[in-house]
Symmetry: C2
Subunit: 206 residues, 2 copies
């Protein structure tokens, strides 16, 4: 019953996601969230008790969704070639489905580095299945087998996620540098996925 797509609570959430994405936690205004949701400002505090809590709910939901999706697709692939084909697609499709989420995560990461870390830590504590250990062991094993050129899991991650994530926030800068408008449509998304897959497969596989 709770999940009515147009309940006041849901409308607040949707409006807040946009507000936090555009302005960050400190720039977000309760009054604007209310106006965007078409409800009275007091409703925000009625349902979420504080701006901070509303923010927490949104971040936690977002991160949880993302982690779940990544886990699902990681479980399917146990060779590096397949993994490197799947990961960019997962990240890029996830963030293109809702560009606000990329912005919110980046905001939170810069303003409050420990916050997302804690959420991830808590999520991992609950699962018996430990994706972080599995990933590290995978990288180690593949490197030993001579399949992987890059041996450090830290750099493997830093080579995969940023090229996938950054196009959703860095594009204006690229446009300015190249003096050209770039439309983020399905074609661009497909091209970006192809380019990243190519980059990390050729760049890190042997």
């Amino acid at each position: 019953m709770e999940k009515q797509k147009n309940s006041a609570k849901q409308r607040i959430l949707r409006s807040a996601v946009k507000e936090f994405a555009d302005h960050g936690f400190w720039g977000a205004r309760a009054s604007r969230i209310a106006k965007g949701a078409g409800i009275n400002k007091a409703m925000i505090f009625y349902y979420f008790s504080s701006k901070e809590n509303l923010y927490r709910v949104i971040i936690e939901d977002t991160v949880k969704d993302l982690i779940e999706e990544v886990q699902k697709s990681m479980a399917k692939s146990d060779d590096p070639e397949k993994l490197f084909e799947i990961l960019p697609e997962v990240y890029i499709r996830f963030f293109s489905k809702n560009e606000f989420m990329a912005k919110i995560i980046i905001h939170d990461l810069v303003q409050n580095p420990d916050h997302i870390s804690n959420i991830i830590g808590q999520l991992f504590e609950k699962t018996p299945y430990k994706p972080q250990k599995i990933f590290q062991e995978m990288v180690h094993k593949w490197h030993k087998k001579g399949l992987l050129a890059e041996s450090d899991p830290v750099h493997v991650i830093l080579n995969i996620i940023p090229p996938s994530l950054f196009c959703f926030i860095g594009l204006p800068m690229v446009e300015a540098v190249l003096e050209r408008k770039i439309k983020v449509d399905d074609k661009f998304i497909d091209e970006r996925i192809k380019s990243v897959v190519n980059l990390i497969k050729r760049g890190m596989l042997k």
Copy 2:
């Protein structure tokens, strides 16, 4: 005379850079900037007239410094191999010199996409030397010659800058995922540069 390293004006600037990096424009507090600089709050408005203007000055200086450094090193290299060796080094060393700059640029990019674009646009208008045209022509030429696997300049940029920039803001997330602390010392910086150079050379050169 103006450039005394400990003049009130300089102290305000240094304190403000840290404040804007940690909290973004909307989270930054004039009172905290004043306390950090060890001066009276009114001095901020005496020298910079408004918070917004102080912010503008900082962003413009930062972006100008970065662009200048990139231009310098781009002028030196006219084959893709050399360029792909130099660019990650420039970006990573620039941001590691002062991690605040990475955060400030990211903040501004997310909250105010047109802002940095405009600054870059203005900078390029003044120079007779047009780096954006040169870069596009380079990529086009190299791709034709069969030296480059990636033909689109947009994706070339999106494959180079994010892996270089993101480690300065995304590391807490990586730490959480891998359940491991990562020290950002000179050794790590060197390794990151090597990894990115490897990634983009193998990933995009033929």
